[in-house]
Each structure stands twice: as C-alpha cells, then as structure tokens.
Symmetry: C2
C-alpha cells in the first residue's frame, strides 16, 4: 500500500560553522515531530507517510520539506508554517505558494 | 529546480538480530553507490536526484527504493536489479513490474 502522499523532511546536520548550513541546524527535527503531531490530530496518518531524509541538496534554503508525489518543494519552513502546509496542501490540495523553493539548481 | 525524478533509498540499519531486519543490513548503502554510478554513466545526474532516507517502513521487504513523483515502490532490490530500474523505468518510463512492493500496509 503506497502512501497517498509522502513528506520528506531533511534532518541532515552539518557541524556548527559549516558555510553551507543545514536543515538540522535550522530545527528540522522539531519540524518533523510537530508535523507528525499535526497529522495525528487531523487523522491523516494512514494516508500521509513522513520520512526523515539525509541531505535534500538545498542546504542554503533549509529547512527543506518535499511533498511527493506532488514534487512540491518547500524552503525555509518554520514551525508556524506547518499548519498551512497540512491544511492547504494536504487537506485541500492547494500547495502553499509563499513557501515554494526558489527555482535554483540543487547543490 | 525540482528533480524530474527522485530516488529514495532507505539506508536505515537496525542492530544485527533485530526481528524486523532493515534495508541497511540488506546492502542498501551498496545499492546507493551503484545507483549513483549508473546514473553518472547514463548522463542522468542532472535530472534524477538520489536521496538517502531513514526508515521507509517496509523493513520486511527491503531493500526498499521508492521512485517519486511516480510513487512507485520497489521491494527486495538487489544490485543486479539496478540496471533494469534505470533503463526501463527512468529512461523508458516503464516501471519494473517484477520488483513492485506488494500491496501491504506500511509498518
């Protein structure tokens, strides 16, 4: 049974001071747990799989979350953005335009 | 710039003897490197992103590789299967039927 949607949350962490930065340094572990809590509250855990990933190659734009199979990529996600991602994108099928990853090559 | 396709390779490893088993124990790190080599040989590195993931929740059917945004999931992938995944699925758009994940709930 394939997930209806799969959320990829980059939790890659580089050492402090690394010039690339990393999603882990920008709090992505916290995002992951908050996201799981939200999905549980909304009854979405059977339809949406949350996957922790290593580097999603947009380090400079973290924290990065990709939504598949929509192939929608979100940049600089903060905890206060999660409810909108879940409500607008996952529940209503409308990706959150203001959070979309800029159209840059992956690193 | 979003990848045309994203290959998710589970590299999660459980301790030896764990009853669930894990993709890591089934050689998924080797698969990952072989896959990257193949993509390089075929000139696909600009279009296909390879992402290492933590648990993809099909431990009993590993090694697991998911292809997004196709939402195609492969089970029990072995090194000798990779050329077919790349050639048939990625290059010709025909998923490899014999490797498809059985229709079971994720764990």
């Amino acid at each position: 049974m394939r997930p209806e949607r799969q959320l990829l949350v980059c939790v890659h962490t580089r050492p402090p001071g690394n010039s690339k930065g990393s999603c882990g340094e920008k709090g992505s572990e916290g995002l992951l747990h908050a996201l799981k809590d939200l999905l549980r509250e909304r009854g979405l855990t059977e339809r949406v799989m949350v996957t922790r990933t290593y580097c999603l190659k947009h380090c400079g734009h973290g924290a990065t979350i990709a939504v598949q199979p929509d192939n929608v990529w979100y940049a600089a996600v903060r905890p206060e953005d999660l409810a909108e991602i879940v409500g607008s994108h996952l529940e209503q099928g409308r990706p959150v335009a203001r959070l979309l990853m800029p159209d840059v090559p992956w690193e």
